[in-house]
């Protein structure tokens, strides 16, 4: 087993195990922190796929942004000042059905897909390619996404500002 395989299995295991913790932890703060390891594992898997830019973006967006937001949300909405932030199990039957359907679809896709093993080669960095594509071929979607985020941000500011002026 070469180093690549060791790293792959290590990070794969980390991702899956922490994903299990996310789902099964009784304490939602624990879930949130376990999610961080899932994101890490995924980022590492991206690295192993020579997708360094995506990996770093994964870290920046999910760990630095979304996860902090989630933890903030968890801390601000529930009773913050006790460690017992417990979650119960709800809607067992619909959830099982839903998960089963998704799992079935995934397994189906695995079997149907024609997997090609690309011969090992020296991979070039992806940054320049992504950059060029973003500002040439996909300039419109990128701009639209930017405008969308701007609108969302202004909306958030408006909500916060209204809250303040009332008090």
């Amino acid at each position: 087993m070469d180093l690549y395989a060791i790293f792959f299995y290590f990070f794969g295991l980390l991702t899956v195990a922490s994903a299990f913790v996310v789902v099964f932890a009784r304490n939602i703060v624990h879930s949130a922190f376990a999610l961080m390891f899932t994101f890490f594992g995924v980022a590492a898997l991206y690295v192993l796929l020579y997708a360094d830019f995506i990996a770093v973006t994964q870290l920046l967006v999910y760990v630095g942004g979304i996860l902090v937001l989630i933890i903030f949300g968890v801390m601000l909405t529930t009773k913050v000042f006790s460690v017992e932030v417990k979650t119960g199990t709800l809607n067992v039957l619909p959830a099982t059905l839903f998960t089963a359907i998704i799992a079935g679809m995934l397994i189906f896709v695995f079997y149907v897909t024609d997997w090609n093993i690309i011969p090992d080669q020296e991979w070039d960095t992806t940054v320049y390619g992504i950059g060029a594509l973003l500002v040439n071929d996909f300039i419109l979607p990128m701009q639209v996404a930017g405008v969308l985020l701007l609108v969302a941000m202004i909306g958030a500011v408006m909500m916060a500002a209204r809250e303040r002026s009332k008090s």
């Binding site: 770093v56 870290l59 630095g64 933890i71």
Partner: protein, 339 residues
């Protein structure tokens, strides 16, 4: 450099671990030195002498003694805390800080990972420190700690924006995210350094320095700890070596932003005298001295300025730094296009 190591070591994995551990050789002694220096700098600014006894000359081994003391201390975990997260947070914090050193080019011959997205990577991976602080604050089960943790996250998340935009100005000017390439571009005399190549990069540096102060929670932005208000912020309940880990993280973070600043603006490992005193070993020297200089400036500021209030802190970021940073980014780009 990994290849060189592989020749001497029985297994390639060992070589990789060795390679990854090399920045420790700089970070650990640096932290010991920096804590001592902080004491001395503060002492001399305050008409005192600081540590004078331990080890003889100007108390040089004071921090070593303190470290030994801290390791021996009883490991106190509050009974109502979340034990696992409480114990894990300091290590996660240091992991986050240390992981960022992977892409710092310490000399022309040594860089942990020759990553093409180096600058981007540093910004991404330091966000782990935010998480660990949130973790520590929440797990302590102490209201002051949680307030401190909340403040920290709000502060770091906000100040990430001007930091990123200031770094982006350099990226726009150099056209690469690879820190090694950026360093190599500044080889030659002092005038090849990026800070002198473009007047707007000078502004970018000032922005970078201010917002990085906030990123590493130093005065005047040390609200997360703010001893006089929040007792100790997120680290109130910590003691012994776990507290020491946070201390280590803080100083490692300081070194990190200082090194990044010198890579992006001050010629990285390049000697200011052109070819004189340059080379791989001198490179480490120049890199560390530039970093130490900025750390000294940080200490200087810390012992001079009072602390901002939390709303003023946000004002500084959102009303001043971010607009200036964005306008500056456009100006940097314009300058690069025109000249």
């Amino acid at each position: 450099m990994v290849e060189t190591l592989e020749q001497f070591l029985p297994h390639p994995l060992l070589a990789i671990i060795m390679h990854a551990a090399l920045p420790m050789v700089i970070v650990f002694p640096y932290v010991l030195f920096a804590v001592w220096l902080e004491r001395k700098v503060s002492a001399h600014m305050q008409d005192r002498l600081g540590p004078m006894r331990t080890g003889g000359w100007h108390g040089w081994s004071q921090t070593i003694a303190d470290m030994i003391k801290m390791i021996q201390k009883e490991d106190i975990v509050p009974s109502r805390s979340d034990k696992f997260l409480f114990k894990f947070a300091p290590f996660l914090a240091f992991m986050g800080a240390y992981a960022a050193f992977a892409v710092i080019p310490f000399s022309s011959e040594y860089i942990g990972a020759h990553l093409d997205v180096g600058a981007f990577y540093i910004l991404a991976v330091t966000s782990v420190v935010t998480l660990s602080i949130l973790m520590a604050g929440w797990a302590s089960n102490n209201k002051w700690s949680l307030l401190g943790a909340m403040r920290t996250s709000a502060q770091i998340v906000s100040y990430e924006v001007p930091t990123v935009v200031a770094v982006l100005s350099v990226i726009v000017a150099t056209g690469t995210l690879n820190l090694m390439t950026i360093s190599e571009m500044q080889t030659g005399t002092i005038f090849n350094w990026l800070i002198f190549s473009n007047p707007f990069l000078l502004i970018a540096f000032v922005l970078y320095f201010i917002s990085s102060l906030a990123e590493v929670n130093r005065t005047p932005f040390d609200l997360p700890e703010s001893e006089s208000e929040l007792v100790g912020g997120f680290q109130t309940e910590y003691s012994g070596m776990r507290w020491g880990m946070f201390m280590l993280t803080e100083y490692a973070d300081m070194l990190l932003v200082s090194l990044l600043g010198s890579v992006l603006f001050f010629g990285a490992w390049n000697s200011p005298f052109g070819d004189f005193m340059s080379g791989p070993v001198w490179g480490v020297f120049w890199m560390v001295s530039k970093g130490m200089f900025f750390i000294f400036v940080m200490m200087w500021l810390r012992w001079t300025l009072p602390r901002l209030r939390v709303d003023q802190l946000m004002d500084v970021c959102w009303k001043y730094l971010i607009p200036i940073a964005f306008i500056n980014l456009v100006l940097v780009a314009l300058w690069e296009m025109l000249f």
